[in-house]
């Protein structure tokens, strides 16, 4: 391995120090992050989100567990081969006892409902969440046990070990993806497209966490589309609604260069 000279080390140290944020700039970005977190609907509870859904390996493991459990249930199920004599007198003789493993899994784990916007960006989601950085040699059981969390309120979650998608996280990612699309469109000088995307965001997440970002981008897109008066009117409304917004300066400057 080539050694670095003291001169090289000193230069790299200087570079590293010079490339960080200035304190006021760091605070500004933090204020923006807090603004986005505060904006719109109340913060969805992080604690209630299932953890397993974050890792594809864990999902595979949990899915395998579900199937194995279903297989065991079916193997031990005395009704499967003798469907005519139910043990429980209250049970109707025609109640279908022979469920396939797929049916058992499906019954035990209802699919969480997701918004169309969430489904629309499902393909993009995988790219935003980093994959596990370690080889999946770790025992599958270790992850859930390492995270003490309150049990989800819904009783079905206890019945079913299959991981459910985290709707709050899905929604936030869907919001982020839409906002990013709008930003890209704006950056590519396609303000009309940006406005369309922002409208889609407004329809899907009227009180979303990124509402403030959406409004700011909309004002900028309106300016870029040559709709100065409308942009200025919306900017005034924005500043009235969010006087302490971290975006206030950006909103005030939005149409000034046009």
């Amino acid at each position: 391995m080539a050694r670095r000279s003291p001169q090289a080390r000193a230069m790299l140290r200087t570079y590293r120090e010079a490339q960080g944020y200035a304190p006021e700039q760091r605070d500004e970005v933090w204020a923006r992050i807090e603004g986005s977190l505060d904006a719109g609907a109340p913060q969805p509870s992080v604690e209630s989100s299932p953890t397993i859904s974050s890792s594809p390996w864990l999902m595979v493991g949990a899915g395998a567990l579900v199937i194995a459990a279903a297989a065991v249930v079916l193997a031990l199920n005395p009704w499967r081969s003798e469907p005519v004599t139910p043990r429980n007198p209250s049970q109707a003789p025609h109640s279908a006892p022979a469920q396939t493993p797929r049916e058992v899994v499906g019954a035990a784990s209802p699919k969480p409902s997701t918004s169309p916007a969430v489904e629309a960006v499902a393909a993009d989601r995988a790219e935003l969440v980093p994959p596990p950085t370690v080889a999946p040699a770790q025992p599958v059981e270790s992850k859930p046990s390492s995270r003490p969390r309150p049990a989800p309120a819904a009783s079905t979650a206890q019945d079913s070990p299959e991981p459910a998608a985290d709707p709050a996280f899905d929604e936030l990612q869907a919001e982020l993806i839409l906002v990013q699309k709008a930003r890209r469109a704006l950056r590519d000088q396609r303000p009309t497209r940006a406005l369309e995307v922002l409208d889609a965001h407004a329809r899907a997440f009227p009180k979303g966490q990124m509402r403030e970002d959406r409004l700011v981008l909309r004002i900028e897109a309106l300016c870029a589309a040559g709709k100065g008066p409308q942009a200025r009117a919306e900017a005034r409304l924005f500043l009235r609604a969010f006087p302490a917004s971290a975006h206030a300066g950006r909103v005030r400057a939005a149409c000034s260069s046009k």
């Binding site: 080539a2 670095r4 090289a8 570079y15 935003l128 980093p130 770790q138 003490p148 990013q180």
Partner: protein, 210 residues
């Protein structure tokens, strides 16, 4: 690393203890927020915002989009903090993973080589004019050097030699093996040494007898 320890402690203490601790010693909106992870995020941000910023820069994000990337990284990090598992890697490599994904998204529609040659130092440099001039030269030289490196060597060099990550952590962050990391690092260091030599030669010929 301190932030990671706190997260682990929080998990051990459970939610209630964490919320109590959060209310006891928090500050500003982060402390006032009912969201117990906000303060953790604030701490992670304080400790690693510069790292995320530099990583985004090393990954080729144009200067004007850096704040957007940092913003998005920490919004996602906020959601993912409860899932962070210290046994699977460091907080830095976890943040780098998020940064990489966010940068990919940002980069989709922008040209691959929009990386800005940074000649002027960031406003964080507060010092005497001569110091700032020297600093700005160093920044410009290293930016120019990084610009000339192949992308794979550049990111390894940046993480290992600028950010000070150990080779194994770099490998984990990039999802590659350690030998590959060391091979790229070796090549990048060699190129850097040659670059510095060329700079020295230029300097001495500029100041030498004419």
């Amino acid at each position: 690393m301190n932030a990671w320890r706190r997260i682990t402690d929080w998990r051990r203490a459970g939610k209630e203890g964490a919320v109590a601790d959060h209310r006891r010693s928090g500050s500003s909106r982060a402390a006032a927020s009912p969201d117990p992870w906000r303060r953790e995020l604030a701490e992670v941000y304080r400790a690693h915002a510069d790292f995320v910023l530099r990583s985004a820069r090393h990954l080729g994000v144009p200067e004007r989009h850096l704040d957007d990337v940092v913003h998005d990284v920490f919004i996602i990090a906020h959601r993912r903090l409860p899932d962070f598992d210290g046994a699977r890697g460091t907080l830095r490599s976890w943040l780098f993973g998020i940064t990489r994904r966010v940068v990919l998204h940002h980069r989709r529609s922008s040209a691959r080589h929009q990386r800005r040659l940074r000649v002027v130092p960031s406003p964080s440099a507060h010092g005497r004019p001569d110091e700032e001039l020297a600093r700005s030269r160093v920044v410009a030289h290293i930016d120019a050097f990084l610009e000339g490196l192949p992308a794979k060597q550049r990111i390894v060099f940046a993480l290992a030699d600028i950010e000070g990550m150990p080779g194994a952590e770099v490998a984990r962050s990039l999802g590659t093996n350690v030998n590959t990391v060391y091979a790229r690092l070796r090549a990048a260091r060699k190129a850097f040494a040659q670059y510095l030599e060329a700079l020295d030669r230029e300097g001495s010929s500029a100041h030498g007898p004419s």
